[in-house]
Symmetry: C2
Amino acid sequence: MAMKVALLGCGAVGSEVVRLVDEQRSELATRAGTALEIAGVAVRRPERARGLPIDPALFTTDAMELATRPDVDIVVEVIGGIEPARSLTLAAIKAGKSVVTANKALLAEDGEAIHSAARAAGVDVYYEASVAGAIPLLRPLRDSLAGDRVQAVLGIVNGTTNYILDRMDSLGAGFAESLEEAQSLGYAEADPTADVEGFDAAAKAAILARLAFHTEVSAADVHREGITEVTAGDIASARDMGCVVKLLAICQRSADGSVGVRVHPAMLPREHPLANVNGAYNAVFVEAESAGRLMFYGAGAGGTPTASAVLGDIVAVSRNRLAEAQVVDSGGNGETRRVHPMGETVTRYHVALDVADRPGVLARVADVFAGNEVSIQNVRQVGHGEDAQLVIVTHMAPDAALGRTVEQLRALDMVRSVASVMRVEAFNDQ
Amino acid sequence: MAMKVALLGCGAVGSEVVRLVDEQRSELATRAGTALEIAGVAVRRPERARGLPIDPALFTTDAMELATRPDVDIVVEVIGGIEPARSLTLAAIKAGKSVVTANKALLAEDGEAIHSAARAAGVDVYYEASVAGAIPLLRPLRDSLAGDRVQAVLGIVNGTTNYILDRMDSLGAGFAESLEEAQSLGYAEADPTADVEGFDAAAKAAILARLAFHTEVSAADVHREGITEVTAGDIASARDMGCVVKLLAICQRSADGSVGVRVHPAMLPREHPLANVNGAYNAVFVEAESAGRLMFYGAGAGGTPTASAVLGDIVAVSRNRLAEAQVVDSGGNGETRRVHPMGETVTRYHVALDVADRPGVLARVADVFAGNEVSIQNVRQVGHGEDAQLVIVTHMAPDAALGRTVEQLRALDMVRSVASVMRVEAFNDQ
């Protein structure tokens, strides 16, 4: 008996899923243990989907009916966004369907509710496609590292911002100009907010943290800064330090067992493997107690790569349904860890100050750092007279202390302006 | 009721597994769905294992009795080698135990027999640790890419040879000297045959090919060349071309659906991500039809990283046993593909010839290539008079034709010697 798959949404990812289910029919049947059959496709405007190689009889506008239809085994949600995706997903789970979704926003906002519902209903919810497209990342975190303790996850998980920062670095261009270019090439959307303000990366960071630390983390727990304030000056400062600027999603376990989850632009040494991840590619570093450092790299987006991840999940949930298995799922259950605020996160700052070039300035500036118990790793003066700049790299310190230090520096007479402030990651770790 | 784990072997990996099961007791219980308990440890010489933090009562010298003991659920085989590992593994499977193993040699030689036995007995056989240590690689290939078509796998899967080639590259040292250094640092064994002759990498290539292509591939199907013949001259030649020499494990699907599996040293452009994988690290590129190019990177060996992979598998098989699930396993079953011989593999050669520096040499040499229908991408003369060398890079051609070409070049009067022959991978793909 075929495994019946209902598709909610039929955009770039959904249409590729339909095409691949057809094209790889026999391989998928062998791998899933039974044939896969598209039982229906819910779309808002069937007339738009007419060009697709899909039997028109499969289209419906009633997504809820399809998601709960008795003959459906697996519901694939590729609509995106919170509603109606949430109601549809929860209804499908309640109706005993296994769910495969690529919806990072929903999982980041309501992961716990969705996992609980799935546990209660004894069904699977798989979502490999929600983070880093085709890169097999969630399954390794959830399964392969189930016998390890993940210490940190550090990743480039948003291709749009990675492309923009790349262009700023290689052309010396500003943010606005690079965004425009990305938009004209289709790498950024007309409304780029979700990408450039870090919302997309923050949702992914929440999902990664949940799986890495087996605890509840939602989008609201993620400290989020986008790249809209990154200037050509920041990029030039980074270059002077042998660094590049990347938008990083970082999940870290602290010594006290709490976890920190954040998304912000950061300077990264050029020799770091993540520094060379360009364009629309994604890459994620995972550091685990026993496994050491692992890196995963690949296409972070795109209809076909994302469809590959969706199909891998469809095969997995099919196998589980066939086996009538309610396999213990470690998606976020099990441990309860405090998610600490950004202020407690231990980090390191790069600060460039436009200063008056006169004796005593460095002493005064150093005083401010010392007063906040932030120690300085490195300071150098660049330029003279009107152009004098102090460039400071701190040692690791609580982010709140670093933020306070910058506020106090801003208020100093002899500091004309704070030219650049940016966190530095993976830099001279000792 | 606890899941009872029997350990066969207690060396670097086994003792770490025992330590971690103890140290992570509560996390593992949550993730596996039930407590894990070491039920026994089979060792040949219990007196040697006395220093380990293991209840001495758990030791036994009767591995077969332990592997088939009625109270045991999961058998972890970390003895290595073919016998007695094979008999023990098959007996454990027959007795209904799930098996976790790190034994690449056994899986490469007898993978089909082991998978068949497991299917018949309805138990799991997991072996993430057998290839690339802690890097989650087999599970992504088997599960995450189950809805995709893998085209090629290209990897550095042996840390010892990678270290030796690295030293040869950075110091200009010869093979023997670099091997000695690796031995003195503990990176190479006293008998380095398995590593330097490519047996270790070939076993891993067979396992990767089986999972990537869902077909039966055994060690005997793998074309294998080690690094013992790599000379300082080869490395220098590679450098002149902007390449490094790496021992690569390559699994490729051909246009006709057959697959080729091979291990040999090859030149790789310095800008290729695998070119920068140094020392004992492993990295594997996977190219899939929909997912595109993926890379996995991490520690390839070592007791603790390997134990992390073993524990991940223990958790996975525990979950399956708890769920009483016989989840369809795609480890090599399903598809039947011809494994073609090396001669049919399409590849590209770099050839350096010491030649007489006189008119007509190039024409004569080019004739030999043309006679074998091998076209030349690039040829340049290096040096003059007695030192004249022709350096040729071919286009892609069947390996047999390339081999024949080199044989015929060797026989030419005007070719004093063939200074270097090496395959070139990922070079100017167009």
